[in-house]
């Protein structure tokens, strides 16, 4: 337990100590929020969709969490290089404790980053409704963070170097974001896209977060929560498994 705690604290310390990274990773969500949010706002309203900023913000918050969480997993590759991974792998603690500490730390960092983006969205005009599920917003944010920390850990454990990194971003992370219902509604989409959204774990996180904030669900609260929890469990298990197989 102590090992999990201290490795988690390490991630947080690293986060707080690199303001460049904090600010740098805000760039992308802000860009999307401004370009899409304000760019499409009037069109969205004319089409009868309501305020697009309200619709989009949960998606943008999810995006920030998604990228930070995946990155925390990919960091294993850097640690392998710049050495610190070895130090933990020869320590008399189980791989499970090490990887849980890492994933938890990475997820908390991603959650904090998500909260920062949340505040930015509020400043940009995001108006949350007084829904009974508002407290669940944080739950969904943390589920997204844990789930993608798990996915990142799988890739961080399997890949030997950073060469594969752009591949993961462009062929996995970006599609997961675009086909999650983060920027457009699941309703009225072509069948193929609907299925893609259905198969995307991020969809349920985005939908849950959006529902918690503005009381509009595509799949329903229970579905979002149940699928979110199960998938997060599966991904954490997969991340742990692949991490435990690392050999130097």
């Amino acid at each position: 337990m102590k090992a999990i705690y201290i490795l988690c604290v390490r991630q947080l310390k690293r986060y707080v100590r690199s303001p460049a990274r904090i600010i740098g990773s805000l760039g992308q969500p802000i860009l999307f929020l401004v370009a899409l949010g304000f760019g499409l706002r009037s069109m969205f309203a004319r089409a009868g969709g309501g305020d697009y900023i309200n619709f989009l913000s949960p998606g943008i918050i999810s995006m920030a969490i998604l990228f930070n969480a995946v990155f925390s997993g990919i960091e294993i590759i850097w640690d392998r290089q710049f050495g610190f991974l070895k130090e933990t792998l020869v320590a008399p603690v189980s791989r499970l404790e090490i990887v849980l500490g890492r994933m938890l730390g990475g997820a908390i960092v991603a959650l904090v980053q998500g909260i920062v983006v949340f505040v930015i969205c509020l400043i940009a005009g995001f108006r949350i409704q007084n829904t009974p599920y508002l407290s669940l917003a944080v739950v969904f944010m943390f589920l997204i963070a844990l789930l993608f920390a798990g996915i990142g850990t799988v890739f961080g454990s399997v890949l030997q170097d950073m060469q594969g990194f752009p591949l993961i971003i462009n062929f996995l992370i970006m599609p997961l974001f675009f086909f999650s219902g983060a920027i457009f509604s699941a309703n009225g989409l072509p069948k193929v896209l609907q299925i893609m959204l259905r198969l995307n774990p991020l969809s349920y996180g985005v939908d849950g977060l959006r529902g918690a904030c503005i009381a509009v669900f595509a799949y329903g609260l229970k579905t979002d929560l149940a699928i979110g929890v199960v998938l997060t469990g599966v991904l954490l298990a997969l991340g742990s498994y692949f991490f435990s197989k690392i050999q130097l």
Binding site: K2, A3, I6, L7, R10, K13, R14, R17, S18, I77, W78, R80, Q81, F82, G83, F84, L85, K86, E87, T88, L89, V90, A91, P92, V93, S94, Q160, D161, M162, Q247, L248
Partner: protein
């Protein structure tokens, strides 16, 4: 005297390539054992297998009486290691790196802080304890790694080229402490180095490995006698030949190059 490390018929294959080929040796408790060989001879691969981070293809290993492939926890408690590559967290301070290590090894808080103070003072970093490791020079990082490896009072100390990039003063300082540890507390030391004079001076026994096989074993004096050489360096060359070894750059080296390009120079 019990054997702290006992290796029998150790083999590691990577596909067709045999990195370690039927290696056998023993290191009795309290001895200082030098594992010498040219680049790519299989030294680091052997250390990885001894320290539980790499599974052997075949052969048996006992470290402090335990099998590194099955009783990992007992083995890991038994040793401290200084890796060939840096293994500190640059974004943490010297103290935090030490403290994290102590917690991972289950050293109780009071004892931990006492030993951290003692050890960072010993390696001359007492003043820099609260500074981030990324501000340290290569030599300072090395010294901190040595201090860290000793924090949990291990029975065995693995040192993979521990004195690379250190000035003679620091080298002497570290070796004399390690010799003292071995003499007074019976700590067993297993080290690799390219400095033959160093091996000659501190090692009780050495083994020379080349192309994955052990080509000679014995005390430095015995090896010199056997090869009719005045010093260990000549004996080493006589045993392993003059050819300069090529080591394939692996993923790790490529990454390190990238890291350098990204983060600027000044890294070890």
């Amino acid at each position: 005297m019990a054997d702290m490390i006992a290796v029998q018929g150790l083999v590691k294959n990577y596909g067709d390539f045999c990195a370690v080929n039927q290696v056998s040796f023993t290191v009795p408790e309290g001895r200082i054992f030098g594992f010498l060989g040219p680049n790519g001879a299989g030294k680091t691969t052997t250390i990885k297998m001894l320290t539980t981070v790499l599974n052997p293809t075949s052969g048996s290993i006992r470290v402090n009486g335990h099998d590194p492939t099955r009783e990992q926890k007992q083995v890991r408690h038994s040793f401290g290691i200084v890796f060939q590559d840096p293994s500190l967290d640059d974004e943490l301070t010297a103290f935090e790196n030490m403290d994290l290590h102590g917690i991972l090894y289950g050293v109780a808080r009071g004892e931990r802080h006492k030993r951290i103070d003692m050890l960072v003072d010993f390696v001359g970093l007492g003043e820099r304890k609260k500074d981030l490791v990324k501000t340290f020079s290569g030599g300072m990082k090395r010294r901190l790694e040595v201090a860290r490896a000793l924090l949990h009072t291990p029975r065995i100390l693995f040192l993979d080229e521990p004195t690379i990039g250190l000035d003679p003063q620091t080298r002497n300082h570290i070796w004399s402490y390690i010799q003292q540890l071995s003499r007074e507390e019976g700590v067993t030391v297993f080290f690799t180095t390219h400095y033959m004079d160093e091996a000659d001076r501190v090692a009780n026994d050495v083994a020379v490995i080349d192309h994955g096989r052990i080509v000679a074993q014995g005390s430095p004096a015995e090896l010199k006698q056997r090869t009719n050489c005045a010093n260990l360096e000549d004996a080493f060359i006589a045993l392993t030949g003059h050819a300069i070894r090529e080591e394939e750059a692996n993923a790790v080296d490529r990454m390190r190059m990238m890291g350098r390009a990204w983060r600027g120079a000044g890294r070890r």
